[in-house]
């Protein structure tokens, strides 16, 4: 057994998995409340990466930042999360809310439309080229180790920040008044409304939080992997969706675990399976199909009971 390869693959899988988990949370939260598959979510993540890039350059760029590197990173995350949160709220307000009482296929089509709209808008506004985050210039090439696990500074930042955001979200949903309202709305929207909960506000907050997490994931992606482009949201969104379904769509812990499983599966497939890097997506989606066939509601999902 080549342990060095195993640990390298594990670190790579955890990093990717953290990104997928953050994206999956947005899918899961929205599905939990609206029973809507928000296929535009991957593109919100892409917009988040671009907002991070523009913020970085507004602050002088990676070579000559006007404030310290840590402060630049902090501002990039905040600006991107807020911008994506607002974008998420706008998408819900204009593309999904008018269709709330329409047949379920209508908002799904609308979601696909928003996805294509965002992709092509990005192409028009940002251009077709790749943007380089210049992470080495901003942060440098540093590595840390925990035992035999070697992390680059950006990988460590990604995993730690993702864990912190997921803990914060879990506490928010479990302890806060608004979190309680989100859980109630998810359980029974009509009953929640009758109990005086402002369902529209709860849905907007859900979109804000889910999209803000996607924005953070977009910046993390730029920092770890260097380059961003207008089409990056498509496959990442698909993987995030896979993670959400694998974990049990609608379940927050499920989205987190699902993300990590998908990330690790992708990484180990690349390292160990025949032609793994070529067919990693085949292996990941085969895993999804297998899990769904054995456990249709996902790892943490609950089977829906229909009262008749």
């Amino acid at each position: 057994m080549n342990w060095s390869l195993f640990f390298d693959l594990t670190v790579s899988g955890l990093t990717l998995g953290s990104l997928y988990a953050l994206i999956a949370l947005g899918y899961s939260m929205v599905y939990g409340i609206l029973k809507l598959l928000n296929f535009a979510h991957g593109d919100v993540y892409m917009i988040g990466a671009f907002v991070g890039w523009y913020t970085l350059h507004a602050l002088g760029g990676p070579l000559n930042p006007t404030i310290s590197g840590a402060a630049v990173l902090f501002v990039m995350f905040i600006v991107s999360m807020v911008a994506c949160g607002v974008l998420g709220v706008a998408i819900e307000r204009f593309a999904y809310r008018p269709l709330r009482n329409a047949p379920r296929i209508a908002p799904l089509i609308s979601a696909l439309g928003v996805s294509i709209f965002l992709q092509n808008s990005a192409l028009l506004i940002f251009g077709a080229g790749f943007r380089d985050y210049g992470t080495f210039d901003l942060i440098g090439v540093k590595t840390f180790n925990i035992g035999q696990l070697f992390f680059s500074v950006t990988q460590l930042l990604t995993v730690v920040l993702a864990i912190l955001l997921m803990i914060a979200l879990t506490v928010f949903v479990a302890r806060s008044r608004l979190g309680k309202a989100m859980r109630s709305t998810s359980f029974d929207r009509e009953a929640a409304s009758m109990m005086g909960i402002d369902v529209d506000r709860v849905i907007s907050v859900t979109f804000f939080i889910g999209s803000a997490l996607a924005g953070a994931a977009g910046v993390m992606f730029g920092l770890v992997f260097g380059q961003i482009y207008h089409f990056m949201g498509f496959i990442a969104g698909l993987k995030g969706f896979t993670a959400a379904v694998l974990g049990g769509i609608g379940s927050i812990p499920g989205a987190m675990v699902g993300g990590l499983i998908v990330g690790l599966a992708e990484s180990y497939a690349t390292g160990y399976l025949p032609q793994g890097s070529t067919f990693q997506n085949l292996y990941v989606f085969a895993l999804l199909i297998l899990v769904i066939l054995i456990r249709p509601s996902g790892l943490f999902g609950k089977a829906a009971i229909t009262k008749v």
Binding site: L5, D8, L9, V11, S12, G13, T15, L16, N120, L123, G127, A128, G129, F130, D132, T135, F136, V141, T143, S152, F221, V224, F225, G226, Q227, Y229, H230, F231, M232, F234, I235, E266, S267, T270, G271, Q275, G276, S277, T278, N281, A286, I289, L290, L293, I294
Partner: protein
């Protein structure tokens, strides 16, 4: 138990379905739409003051970053031509969305649109070798010739299917592959090589050519592939043995090469040499470090044409698109020749392309533009070799 059996049965069914779909995609020419009106091939078109060139490129989709370079270079040729001539050219652009799930179908749609447009006398593009296979029937049935500035699969011009219709201003994989392999073997004298293609036909063709030559010479070659969509190379890099002497990545997207090089450095493997192909000939890839090599057609970065282009594009040479400038030049020159008497047919344009003879002094790619019987450049037998100085590529002896 029953669930497990169901799961296995479902996976087998999925495999069978995938095989059927793959089979369908493997024979795109059979799946092509009905032939365009055969009469359009022989129809005489009044040339008029403004002539139309069909243009196929991935304007949107995953490969838009290179497609847009081809668009820019084609537009640059047309703009400079129109400034100095009484007759004008315009491009009728069709987006092929190379690399998107519907890519080849979009290319086919575009080819049919150009075939049905009677003003179009010749086509620049398409970009990808798979696209060429997909559009061959539509363009041929309509009598249209096409000149590609980036499709390099060797068999495209040697299998006889497109003779007299397809031409290209880039040399086939065999030429570039031989140059790269000979350099690795004879100049660098390396024996442990890792090759990674980007799963596109441009890349797999080149990787195959280099792999075959290196193996024949007794080198130890490891081979892998990675999707053009991917930006995370960490798992792949973990697989590259530390005693590897050079990693050959014939990819199409320079920023991906840059990301790969930077991630190699982050993984502590920055001392392993890197080598790209013409698709990575760009300062972003050269900027990875002085351990980076590349092959490219013998462009002269100091030429007036390139200087003019860079001036209009923020200082960026976008060299991947340069052969598309040459392709546009070939089509435009042929249309002008065919239009000498005021009208032309697609057949007369094809004949004019076959007898193209643009001297090296007027050619952007450093050699005269003349085609052999197959439609390949008869003047380009070797690629140029380059090494990074940390910022840009500089020519070196092979």
């Amino acid at each position: 138990m029953r669930r497990r059996a169901t799961a296995i049965a479902a996976l087998l069914a999925l495999g069978a379905a995938l095989a059927i779909v793959a089979g369908a995609y493997a024979t795109p020419e059979r799946a092509a739409a009905p032939a365009a009106d055969a009469g359009s091939a022989a129809a005489s078109v009044k040339c008029g003051k403004t002539r139309t060139i069909g243009f196929m490129a991935p304007v949107t989709g995953p490969a838009a970053s290179i497609g847009i370079q081809q668009v820019h270079w084609a537009q640059y040729y047309v703009a400079t031509y129109n400034k100095t001539h009484k007759t004008k050219f315009k491009l009728q652009t069709e987006d092929t969305q190379l690399g998107a799930p519907t890519g080849t179908a979009e290319a086919l749609k575009g080819a049919q649109a150009l075939a049905g447009s009677s003003n179009v006398l010749g086509v620049v593009g398409p970009a990808g070798s798979n696209e060429i296979v997909g559009v061959t029937k539509s363009l041929k049935d309509a009598g249209l010739a096409w000149v590609s500035g980036s499709s390099t699969r060797t068999s495209l011009t040697t299998d006889g299917t497109r003779t007299g219709y397809m031409f290209r201003t880039v040399p086939p994989d065999a030429v570039q592959g031989t140059t790269a392999a000979n350099f690795i073997l004879n100049k660098l004298k390396y024996k442990r090589v890792y090759i990674i293609d980007d799963q596109e036909s441009y890349s797999t063709g080149l990787a195959d050519a280099v792999e075959a030559r290196l193996k024949a010479a007794g080198a130890t070659v490891s081979r892998d592939g990675v999707s053009q969509q991917q930006s995370d190379f960490s798992s792949l890099i973990a697989k590259i043995a530390r005693d590897t002497q050079i990693v050959y990545i014939p990819w199409q997207l320079p920023p991906k090469g840059q990301a790969f090089g930077n991630q190699m450095k982050a993984a502590g493997k920055g001392t392993i040499k890197l080598m790209g192909a013409d698709g990575l000939y760009d300062s972003s890839f050269a900027g990875v470090g002085a351990h980076v090599y590349d092959t490219n057609f013998p462009l002269n970065p100091k030429s007036k044409i390139i200087a003019g282009f860079k001036k209009g594009h923020g200082g960026d040479g976008e060299y991947f698109g340069a052969p598309t400038y040459a392709a546009t030049q070939v089509i435009a020159t042929a249309i002008d020749r065919a239009c000498k008497k005021g009208s032309a047919t697609r057949a007369s344009v094809r004949a004019a392309i076959r007898s193209t003879n643009i001297p090296a002094a007027k050619s952007l790619i450093g050699v005269a533009l003349r085609f052999n019987r197959n439609g390949d450049l008869s003047t380009l037998h070797k690629f140029g070799l380059y090494k990074s100085n940390g910022k840009d590529f500089v020519p070196i002896a092979g």
